[in-house]
Each structure stands twice: as structure tokens, then as C-alpha cells.
């Protein structure tokens, strides 16, 4: 059972997800979708993962729920390693970690009414059929939907309602962690605000931990306690929301934050990243960000920077930042 005091229910250590691909006339090569990623998520907290497409953030999510078998590393939930579970034990584990996707059509069967869809999850939980109807209504209430929604089909619902149903369905098995993979990306701003508020309320009441994957940094700033920035399969910066957003260190993080089109920052000349995000199958040598980095030096081309703790708990994988720290730790501390 879930104990709210557990220091870290979800611990990820050196997670690797490699895919082997074979080109028509080439040798098989491996794509390192996730390469040596470590983080932890305490219950009742939200870890935000941001990054561009191809950065491996969704691969992390899929590897956590064992939809993709990790190539290496361990995932442990409340101290128990879950990486190589099979059969019944895998099923039982999945109950504890749920996913909410960007497009609710991925998780809702169009031919199943809302009550059937949620009922399916309730059956997994082992709730007797007689109690389903009442529980469905309770869950719908939880996500602030009227009980009448239970009889509807996904196509009769608006996008916001569908996403609420996905959340209700995820909640049906009483998970400890919910992975929200771009869960609000498809929603309108006014509806998005409602769903984000709702997710916060649910977390407050149930102590569920969120792994919140989003490309939208302003959403992460609102939702997340900790933020990890990923680039080509690796975490390049990791820290509290406050640290990462107020004092971003990695040039990539800085560029990402600067690129957010904000109503308040309009008209400002922004730091723009040139170049394309690298092909994850053929990443650049050294620091994979060096071809796009305005501050890259020779070492960046040859040596891959490790994720190193600077200051309080903020971790950065950047040679230039790390050198700067070594030289003037005091001056940096005060900024």
C-alpha cells in the first residue's frame, strides 16, 4: 500500500532505451532514445519533463510503464525493482502507474461508453460489478463531470470532457503515479486551465505523483515541482521548477525558455536556436547540443559532458557552465 511518507516511490536509475533499426542497405544500428536517465519522483509531487520531439521524453514514459522494455537501468516503485516484471506481476504493477495521453482516443475505445471504459478499469481493480455504477459516478464527480456523461460515447464528448474521462479512468485503479504525456496539449487554453487546476486538486487530495511530460514550458512552470530538460535521450538540466525557470544554466534550457511565445514578452528580441534537432539515430559527437549551441568550445565537440550538481541541487550537463562554476563559484552563487 501507498505510504505518503515514502521518500521516493519512483526511482529511475540509469534508464536506457535503445532501438535497433536496420536500413535497407546498411548495417543495423542502434538508436539511443533514452540514454542513462536518472531521476526520482516523490509521492504528491510533480516532475516535469520537457524537451523537443525526439528527445526521448515519451520513450521514458513508455519504458516506465514497461510498454517498451528498457535496454538497461532500473525503475523501482516504492523500493521494488519493476523493470523485469512479467505476467500477473506486471499487470499488478501497471495498476500502480497509469498514463494519460495527449489524444484521449488513444486510451478510450470509441465503441465503449464512458461507464464501460471506466468500468473496465474498475474490473482490473477487482471491484464487484454491482458497485461499478456508483463508483463511475463518484469518479466522474471527481473530475467534475456530470453523472449523465456515463452513458455517452467518446465522440459525443468535447476534447476537455474526453480528457477528464481519461483522467477518471486512470484514477479508477487508484494509481500512485500518473504519467501525463502531453495530457493537456490538445486542449483549449480555458479548458486547459480547468484540467490543470483539476489535476492539482486531485494531487492535493490523493497524494498521487505526476510525471508530467510536456513541450509547453509555461504549463510545466505551473504544474511541476521539479523539472528535467531532455535533449537527444539525456537529461541536460534538472532542478526545482524555481531553479530551472528563474536561473536556467544550460544554453539549451535558456534557449527553450526564451523561445516560449508569451503575451508578456512580445516584441522582445529572443535568443533563437538555429539548426535542426539532431537525428537521434546519428547524434553529434561530444555534447549533442554543440552544433546548435552559441557557446560551444572545442571540448564540446569531443567530450560528452556529465550531469553534474551545481549549487544547491540543480544539475547541468554542460562543459561551459561547469567550468564557469569552478572558476567563480562565489560570483555565480549570488546571481
Amino acid at each position: 500500500m501507498m505510504t505518503p511518507d515514502t521518500a521516493a516511490p519512483l526511482e529511475v536509475e540509469g534508464l536506457k532505451v535503445y532501438f535497433r533499426v536496420r536500413r535497407a542497405f546498411g548495417a543495423a544500428r542502434s538508436i539511443k532514445a533514452v540514454d542513462d536517465v536518472s531521476f526520482e519522483l516523490k509521492s504528491g509531487e510533480t516532475l516535469g519533463i520537457a524537451g523537443e520531439s525526439g528527445s526521448g521524453k515519451s520513450s521514458v514514459a513508455r519504458a516506465l510503464v514497461q510498454l517498451t522494455r528498457p535496454t538497461g537501468g532500473t525503475v523501482s516503485l516504492a523500493g521494488a525493482v519493476v523493470t523485469h516484471l512479467k505476467g500477473q506481476r506486471l499487470k499488478r504493477f501497471r495498476r500502480r502507474m497509469q498514463m494519460v495521453y495527449q489524444d484521449p482516443y488513444d486510451s478510450l475505445d470509441p465503441r465503449m461508453s464512458v461507464s464501460e471504459a471506466i468500468g473496465e478499469a474498475l474490473a482490473v481493480r477487482g471491484l464487484p460489478k454491482a458497485e461499478h455504477a456508483a463508483e463511475v459516478v463518484r469518479l466522474l464527480e471527481r473530475v467534475k463531470l456530470p453523472a449523465t456523461v456515463a452513458q455517452r460515447y467518446p465522440n459525443q464528448l468535447s476534447g476537455g470532457q474526453r480528457q477528464r474521462v481519461s483522467v477518471a479512468r486512470a484514477l479508477a485503479v487508484k494509481p500512485e503515479i500518473i504519467i501525463c504525456d502531453e495530457a493537456v496539449a490538445a486542449l483549449d487554453v480555458s479548458i486547459r486551465a480547468q484540467v490543470l487546476n483539476l489535476l492539482k486538486d486531485i494531487q492535493h487530495d490523493t497524494g498521487v505523483g505526476y510525471l508530467f511530460i510536456s513541450h509547453d514550458l509555461s504549463t510545466l512552470r505551473f504544474m511541476a515541482d521539479h523539472v528535467a530538460i531532455m535533449y537527444v535521450g539525456r537529461i541536460v538540466e534538472h532542478g526545482t521548477s524555481e531553479e530551472v525557470f528563474s536561473n536556467p544554466q544550460h544554453p539549451y534550457t535558456r534557449a527553450l525558455i526564451a523561445a516560449v511565445p508569451s503575451v508578456t514578452s512580445r516584441g522582445q528580441r529572443r535568443l533563437k536556436l538555429t539548426g535542426e534537432p539532431p537525428d537521434p539515430g546519428d547524434p553529434p559527437s561530444g555534447c549533442p547540443f554543440h552544433p546548435r549551441c552559441p557557446e560551444a568550445v572545442e571540448t564540446c565537440r569531443t567530450e560528452r559532458p556529465e550531469l553534474v550538481t551545481i549549487g544547491e541541487g540543480q544539475k547541468v550537463a554542460c562543459h561551459v557552465v561547469q567550468w564557469g562554476r569552478q572558476r567563480t563559484p562565489e560570483a555565480e552563487e549570488t546571481t
Binding site: 511565445p261 514578452s265 512580445r266
Partner: protein, 342 residues
């Protein structure tokens, strides 16, 4: 703009003029109108943003301009004029201006790309059809275009099918095709919604560069006020098939007059300012499309609604700022109560 304000058709420098446009879908009850009598124009080289929630009719406005309203919908009244010479946009005239004078990129690039045809062929087809260039020149230009829209390894992409590309890459291909003939007006329907912020910034830069170089106007349709605020000189805010506020970007952002515009602005979490525990959100959801609305469509969700709001449809009107227009009974009324009546 209000109907008595200007005759959009007379604007000589306009590349699109929409006059009292209504679009309806057959409905058992009521008129089935999903766009209700909107008028606006986009001048050459101008960047106009059309903002609204899904179902507000913003994409349908784009499709109406392109004469691509999906059946059984139809333009029930009003006129649209497009191109330099402001031809009356009709289904029969569309072959002449669609793709050259006016191009569009849609929300979902898969809807504009043929899944069975290689990317290179699809781009060259457009160039060969409209520009009458040699096969080799078309290929050369296609590679340049793919490069310009930020596709790594364009030569390889030319040989690929849309299905192997990621959503972002497909959108870039769609953009490459749309800009291939330097359109006078580019309608971009949520072009960057699926893209990452750094790429979004690049694509918006690209759109900006193109619109400046070729004096092409852009009608940018987006739910993201941040994108529109940074890209457009003028903003049209749509709600439930009507334009509820319009004006220069600065005016709308600094002094939003419609309660809906204000609510939209405050429901986005800020990147710089102190964050509240809860975001201010608009209660409820927009009315279903095609349902006849008496009074103001926003009234059921509006924090300021009074009796009159559910009875009389507010006209789009001008207040102090001659360029800013708003359709709200409360706007500019100092005596208006600060809480809703019911």
C-alpha cells in the same frame, strides 16, 4: 468590423475581404449557423491572427475562404474576395487562385499530403503545375524549400513517404509546399501547434521572413494567444462563430475590452510572473456549434452577464480606439455592475 464601418470589398490593398460571411450546416433545429455574419479583411503583407477555442469557427473561416467547406456545410450568406484583383471566391474560380494566390497549411498535415506519394514528388508536382519549371529545377527548388523549413537531410526526405515522418516534419513539408509558389495570402491554421517551441520559433520566423520578402499576407489561426501576440499586427478574437473583438495586437493585449478576451489572457500560466495556486479558468465550455443563440453566446460563461446579455445580441462596435472593435454590452459602460445578475 461593423457592417456600417467599411465596405471591405473596396479596400484596394486587401488580399482577402470577407463580407458578412455565414456558414451553416443542416440542422433539425434552427439555422445551423456555425459562423454568424463575420466581416474582416487582410491587407497585402499584413499578418492577422484569428484566435479562438476549438469550435469557435476559426478553422471553418479558413476553409470558407479556400472554398473547402466540407459537405453538407455551405456558405449561407455573404461574400469572400481573394487575391490581388479580389476575385469573388467561388468553387469554380478556385482552381485559378488556390495554391498560387492563396495557400493554406492545415492543422493536420496528413490531410494535405498524399500518403502514397513520395514527399519529393508532391512538392515538385506543385512547382511543375503552377510554375512550369523543368523537372531538375523543380527538384532543386524542392530541396531548397525543405532545407528552408528546417528538415534535416532534405535529399533523403524527398524519397520518403509522409507516413515515416514525424508530425512536426510533416507540417514542415506542408509548409514547404504552401510557400512554394509565393502566395499572396497564406492561411496558416494552427501551423505550429504540434511543433516544439524552438522549432515553432523557427517556423514563425520563416513565415515572417517569407511574408516580408514576398509581401505575402498571413492569416494565422491559433488558439495560442502567445503565438499570435508575437507574430501578428492585428488580432481577431472569435467565439462561437462570431468575431467578439478585433483590433491592433497592442490594443487588444493592453486593453482587452471583451470579458472573453480578458479571460483568455489570464488563463495562460506566465513564464515570468509569480504564479497563483490555481489558474483562472473560464467556467463551462463553449456552446455547441450550430445551435441558435439568443443574445450574447458568451453570456452563460461570462462573469459580467446581465439580463440584456441573454436577450440582445451585442453588435461589434467601436469605442475610444478607432481601430479596436468589441461585441459586448458591458464594454465601455462605466455603470455596468461588476458581478453577473443571475
Amino acid at each position: 468590423m461593423p457592417t456600417d464601418h467599411v465596405e471591405p470589398v473596396l479596400l484596394t490593398d486587401a488580399v482577402v475581404a470577407v463580407d458578412n460571411l455565414s456558414v451553416a450546416f443542416p440542422s433539425r433545429s434552427g439555422s445551423g449557423e456555425v459562423i454568424r455574419s463575420i466581416s474582416f479583411s487582410v491587407k497585402a503583407g499584413q499578418r492577422v491572427g484569428l484566435v479562438g477555442e476549438s469550435g469557435s469557427g476559426k478553422s471553418l473561416t479558413a476553409r470558407a475562404i479556400m472554398q473547402l467547406i466540407p459537405a453538407p456545410g455551405r456558405i449561407s450568406s455573404g461574400e469572400i474576395h481573394v487575391g490581388d484583383d479580389l476575385t469573388l471566391a467561388t468553387v469554380s474560380s478556385a482552381k485559378k487562385w488556390r495554391g498560387t494566390s492563396v495557400a493554406m497549411i492545415t492543422q493536420d498535415p496528413l490531410s494535405s499530403l498524399n500518403p502514397l506519394v513520395r514527399i519529393g514528388v508532391q512538392i515538385c508536382e506543385m512547382l511543375r503545375h503552377h510554375r512550369n519549371v523543368s523537372r531538375a529545377d523543380a527538384r532543386q527548388r524542392a530541396v531548397e524549400l525543405l532545407n528552408a523549413v528546417g528538415i534535416p537531410n532534405p535529399k533523403r526526405t524527398m524519397r520518403q513517404f509522409p507516413s515515416v515522418l514525424s508530425g512536426g516534419m510533416r507540417q514542415r513539408v506542408a509548409l514547404a509546399i504552401a510557400i512554394s509558389c509565393n502566395p499572396r495570402l497564406l492561411i496558416a491554421d494552427e501551423p505550429t501547434t504540434a511543433l516544439d517551441v524552438t522549432i515553432q520559433a523557427q517556423v514563425l520566423d520563416l513565415l515572417e521572413k517569407m511574408s516580408e520578402e514576398h509581401n505575402s499576407a498571413v492569416l494565422l489561426i491559433s488558439h495560442d494567444l502567445g503565438v499570435v501576440a508575437n507574430f501578428c499586427e492585428e488580432i481577431l478574437v472569435m467565439y462561437s462563430g462570431k468575431i467578439v473583438e478585433s483590433g491592433p495586437t497592442e490594443s487588444i493585449l493592453d486593453r482587452p475590452l471583451h470579458p472573453y478576451t480578458r479571460a483568455l489572457l489570464t488563463s495562460i500560466p506566465s513564464m515570468t510572473e509569480e504564479l497563483p495556486d490555481r489558474l483562472s479558468s473560464i467556467a463551462g465550455s463553449p456552446p455547441a456549434g450550430g445551435v441558435d443563440v439568443v443574445g450574447c453566446a458568451f453570456a452563460p460563461r461570462c462573469p459580467l452577464a446581465q439580463q440584456i446579455c441573454s436577450e440582445v445580441n451585442p453588435e461589434l462596435r467601436q469605442l475610444d480606439d478607432p481601430l479596436q472593435h468589441v461585441a459586448c454590452h458591458a464594454a465601455g459602460d462605466a455603470t455596468w455592475p461588476a458581478v453577473r445578475s443571475r
